[in-house]
């Protein structure tokens, strides 16, 4: 099965996988901002997460309460088996493309 991952979706999915069972909307947002130096709005991250959930690439469940959020529970996102497959496919696709680049392209630099 082929997965269709957008660039931003792929990043979000990678972060979710990286944070391993601790990913939620805000944590993913701050991770992207911090690790990639890229400014994103929280709503676009959330939207991406929901879209990924619709595609079956992440699962979500409501976590326990925390004091800092006025008692509101977090929605924790976890990567699904399909999500892992999708990431691997994306990675393979890139490696394959990388391998096709003649060495000369970078050497001329």
């Amino acid at each position: 099965m082929r997965f269709n991952l957008g660039e931003f979706e792929e990043i979000v999915l990678l972060v979710v996988a990286a944070q391993n069972d601790k990913a939620y909307g805000l944590s993913v947002t701050t991770a992207i901002e911090k690790e990639l130096q890229r400014s994103v709005t929280m709503s676009s991250v959330h939207t991406a997460l929901y879209r990924l959930e619709e595609k079956g690439l992440v699962k979500s469940e409501v976590g326990g309460t925390t004091k800092s959020r006025g008692g509101r529970r977090k929605r924790i996102f976890m990567i699904s088996a399909a999500g892992k497959e999708a990431l691997l496919q994306a990675k393979d696709a890139r490696t394959h493309l990388w391998s096709m680049i003649p060495k000369i392209v970078f050497e001329s630099r």
Partner: protein
């Protein structure tokens, strides 16, 4: 440093978010947002943080957050429908009294509305059988220099040819000319016939089909006539009418060249027979008909209908019409006329116009009926709402349980609307039954025969009824269902009742509105009734008891008079051209000398017995000299004496005046003013002329001892004179009463509606009384235990209703005072708006209110306190 609690994001932003996001995502998103806000506050100023927070909130508006919890939204309770219907039916059965009130109230008002629906349906069904109906127009006119600016349906006769010659875009032009009417004497019986002269194209333009005869030639020869089927059957019975001769009195011999098929529907063009247009020229040459064919000043003789060859170009045609009117009229001509174009489908119901070719219902009548229907239905719907919410007290638990079991607000609303629709469908059945009773009563009204009401509801009308009752059901059920659905299950189940009745003020004002409407209607119908009674019983200034008016129908008065006077019970016979007080009047120009400006006065042609017979008082001078052969004398009334410039009636005696062009007459007498016109007009100057040539009526003064016998003998005298005509007589009293009968119809209708509104308002009162007393039963119980007396309790419970009744009487009294004053002032002779009328209305409302509230209060007082308080 401030405590953590102070780091709170803007409240309004949160509220806004919670408003637009109503699904399971809300909690986690808002949590994230708050966490983010804490982060903002560490980095930025308060204002900047708030701004960023707002931006975040706004950015979250997307399809994920806007989506409602999906499984609920899409759930259509089809499986529940059966249950709702079942529960509704059980409820209807259980609360028989409530259901009765609802069904009766709704069905009475529905019946009236259905009647109105059927009437409107009937009145909008004119001319539907003409295939070209959307493309048929007629020319109308309006006189610019007239006193009253009323559009008139007729046009001058030459317009037809002018249009044929000067405007090429018309396909068929059909002209109708009046004047084809007269008696046809057949087998010793005279039958009246009424119709028009028209050109053969009438069969091309309109879908009047011929049963026999050739449509293209039937109306081409002069003196041909095409008969309506029923008329042909009346004249010729079994004989073949084709080619038969018809002798129309005064017009000559006509040949029947065709018989129309029965019309498939109603048409606004009202005729019994059509004669060929070519007849007109010869009749006008013989001076049987007045000259009209080339006379642009004769504005009321004919009608012009036409259609366009292709697409209607109304502006083009209007331009031509304007040119034609400019050519023929200018400021110096007697009339200044502008032409207009009217589409046939806009004729009836249509604007109020003069000289219609048949009957036509004015638009405002339809609008009035619609407003009435809406008014009535609103009152009935108010009541349903009031009663259902009152009854709902017992059903909060049901709603509570339903909600706990997973019912949504929408489902509860649907449930209660279904119930209302069921009640409204029951009412429809009853209403249709009532309608069957109402229709004959309605059709017997004079008004209805004038407007040709034929109320035979067909399938289409019944479908309308069904739709109407469904809409009524939904509309009436809407408010109660909203109310019921807002019940919070926790409140309903722990017994603390439903949502607070914030609508009580609203419902009280609804009741007051209903009462006001009833009061205005009661007062108005009483006033109209009194005014008519007043007009009929008023002293007219002349005597009309025991006078039989016999229509001369062309017979010689001088011969009939002695024959009538021979009868022992006839005291005296006088002749006249017209009956006073039924709205008809004749005018003649009068001036004192040739050089004076002439004025128009009303006149009656009478003889020397007239004044004695009608017991009109002479204030000066004498009666006519009997048996004059030439018109030499005239009698005037006081008003005329005054307006002719005589200071005293006696001064007028012996003066000479000129009537019309050159009739010199002497004033021999002055009579006291008496009402010869309809009573809403002031008495005007009047002339009594001695002019037997114009007589149309013989007025016989009889003893009246044995009316039936007297009439018989009068009739036998008549039969000896004129076997061809039926004896046409009327008692003077009856004749005037007949004229006012139409007004009685109006009283009848308003009266009926006011009774209806009282019934509805009474039911509304009953509903609200039931509710408010039921909610206070415990209070009443406690008060009784503590020793409250009956009258205190009545005062306690009845006070607010009494206030409502007083308030509505005041408002209703004011409205009806000013409203009725407006129309009463049109009458020169009128009754005054008395306090007794207000009193009657007040009493009426008090009685109705007292009965409804009284019974409820009585019931509350009679209840044993132990029964009410046992549960506590």
């Amino acid at each position: 440093m401030s405590s953590k609690n102070t780091i709170q994001p803007p409240k309004w932003a949160d509220k806004f978010f919670m408003w637009y996001c109503k699904n399971e995502l809300a909690e986690s998103i808002l949590g994230d947002l708050h966490e983010r806000y804490e982060f903002y506050r560490k980095e930025y100023s308060l204002i900047r943080s708030n701004y960023l927070y707002w931006m975040d909130i706004l950015r979250f508006i997307n399809r994920h957050t806007l989506q409602r919890t999906s499984n609920r939204k899409t759930f259509i309770p089809t499986i529940m429908l059966k249950n709702y219907t079942l529960v509704a039916l059980r409820n209807i059965k259980r609360n028989k009294a409530f259901t009765m009130i609802n069904v009766i109230g709704l069905s009475i008002s529905m019946a009236v509305c259905l009647l109105i629906l059927a009437t409107i349906d009937d009145q909008t069904s004119y001319d539907e059988f003409h295939a070209q109906r959307e493309n048929i127009y007629r020319v109308t006119h309006e006189r610019l220099n007239a006193e009253v600016n009323l559009p008139i349906a007729t046009t001058p006769m030459p317009l037809g040819d002018k249009l044929r010659n000067e405007y090429a875009g018309l396909e068929h032009i059909v002209q109708f000319r009046r004047g084809f009417s007269g008696e046809i004497v057949d087998n010793g019986k005279a039958i009246n016939i009424n119709g028009y002269y028209t050109n053969p194209e009438v069969f091309d333009l309109f879908d009047f089909e011929l049963e026999v005869g050739n449509p293209s030639t039937a109306l081409s020869e002069p003196s041909s006539v095409v008969l309506r089927k029923d008329i042909a059957e009346k004249f010729f019975r079994d004989k073949d009418p084709m080619g038969q001769d018809l002798n129309v009195e005064g017009l000559g011999q006509f040949k029947v060249t065709g018989v129309l098929k029965e019309l498939p529907g109603k048409t606004h063009i009202n005729f019994e027979a059509l004669s060929s247009f070519s007849t007109v020229a010869s009749l006008e040459k013989q001076e049987i008909l007045g000259e009209s064919l080339s006379d642009w000043e004769k504005l009321s003789t004919g009608w012009v209908y036409f259609n366009f060859k292709e697409e209607p170009k109304l502006d083009d045609l209007q331009y031509t019409l304007n040119r034609i009117s400019d050519e023929n009229y200018n400021e110096d001509s007697e009339y200044e006329v502008v032409f207009g174009i009217q589409k046939m489908t806009d004729i009836t119901p249509g604007p109020f116009m003069g000289n219609q070719i048949g009957q036509s219902m004015p638009n405002f009548f339809i609008y009035g009926l619609v407003v009435l229907a809406i008014l009535i239905m609103t009152c009935a719907a108010f009541n349903y709402a009031n009663l259902t919410t009152a009854r709902a007290l017992t059903r909060f638990k049901e709603v509570g349980v339903r909600k706990v079991m997973g019912s949504t607000k929408g489902q509860v609303i649907i449930q209660f609307i279904i119930e209302a629709v069921l009640v409204s469908l029951f009412s429809l059945l009853l209403a249709i039954g009532l309608l069957k009773l109402l229709i004959p009563a309605f059709e017997s009204l004079n008004l209805s025969s004038i407007l040709e009401w034929k109320l035979n509801p067909d399938t289409k009308v019944y479908v309308q009824f069904l739709v109407f009752s469904l809409v009524t059901g939904i509309a009436t059920g809407f408010f109660p269902s909203l109310y019921m659905s807002s019940v919070k299950p926790i409140n309903a189940l722990n017994g603390s009742g439903g949502p607070k009745m914030s609508g009580i003020g609203l419902r009280k004002s609804l009741i007051v509105t209903q009462l006001v409407i009833s009061i205005v209607l009661i007062i108005s119908s009483t006033l109209v009734h009194r005014q008519i009674k007043y007009m009929m019983t008023r002293d007219y200034g002349f005597q009309r008891n025991n006078i039989v008016n016999v229509a001369l129908q062309g017979q010689d008065f001088d011969l009939l008079k002695p024959a009538l006077e021979k009868l022992p019970f006839v005291e005296q016979v006088s002749g006249a051209n017209n009956i006073p007080n039924i709205g008809r009047h004749d005018d003649i120009e009068i001036r004192k000398t040739v050089s004076d400006e002439a004025e128009d006065y009303n006149y009656f042609s009478v003889d020397e017995n007239y004044i004695g017979n009608l017991q009109i008082k002479l204030v000066a001078g004498t009666n006519f000299t009997p048996k004059q052969t030439e018109e030499r004398e005239v009698i005037i009334n006081e008003q005329a004496a005054e307006s002719l410039g005589f200071a005293d009636p006696s001064e007028a005696i012996g003066s000479n005046v000129i009537l019309g062009d050159s009739t010199n007459v002497n004033i021999v007498g002055v009579v006291k003013n008496y009402n010869f016109m309809i009573l809403y007009m002031e008495i005007r100057p009047l002339l009594l002329r001695y002019n037997p040539e114009e007589f149309e009526w013989a007025q016989a003064k009889v003893t009246g001892a044995n009316p039936i016998q007297e009439l018989k003998e009068l009739e036998s005298v008549w039969a000896g004179f004129d076997p061809n005509h039926e004896f046409d007589y009327k008692y003077f009293d009856d004749q005037i009463e007949e004229f006012y009968a139409m007004f009685y119809d109006i009283v009848y209708i308003i009266g009926l509606i006011s009774i209806l509104s009282i019934v509805i308002a009474g039911m509304g009162l009953l509903g609200i009384a039931t509710y408010s007393i039921q909610t206070r039963l415990k209070e009443v119980g406690i008060r009784k235990i503590l020793g409250a007396e009956g009258k205190n309790l009545v005062l306690l419970l009845g006070k607010s209703f009494f206030i409502m009744i007083v308030v509505s009487t005041l408002i209703g009294g004011l409205i009806s005072f000013f409203g009725n004053k407006a129309w009463l002032e049109l009458f020169a002779y009128r009754i005054t708006f008395g306090y007794d009328i207000l009193g009657i209305a007040f009493l009426f409302i008090i009685v109705v209110g007292g009965l409804t509230i009284g019974t409820q209060t009585w019931k509350a007082m009679r209840t044993n306190p132990a029964d009410i308080l046992r549960n506590e």
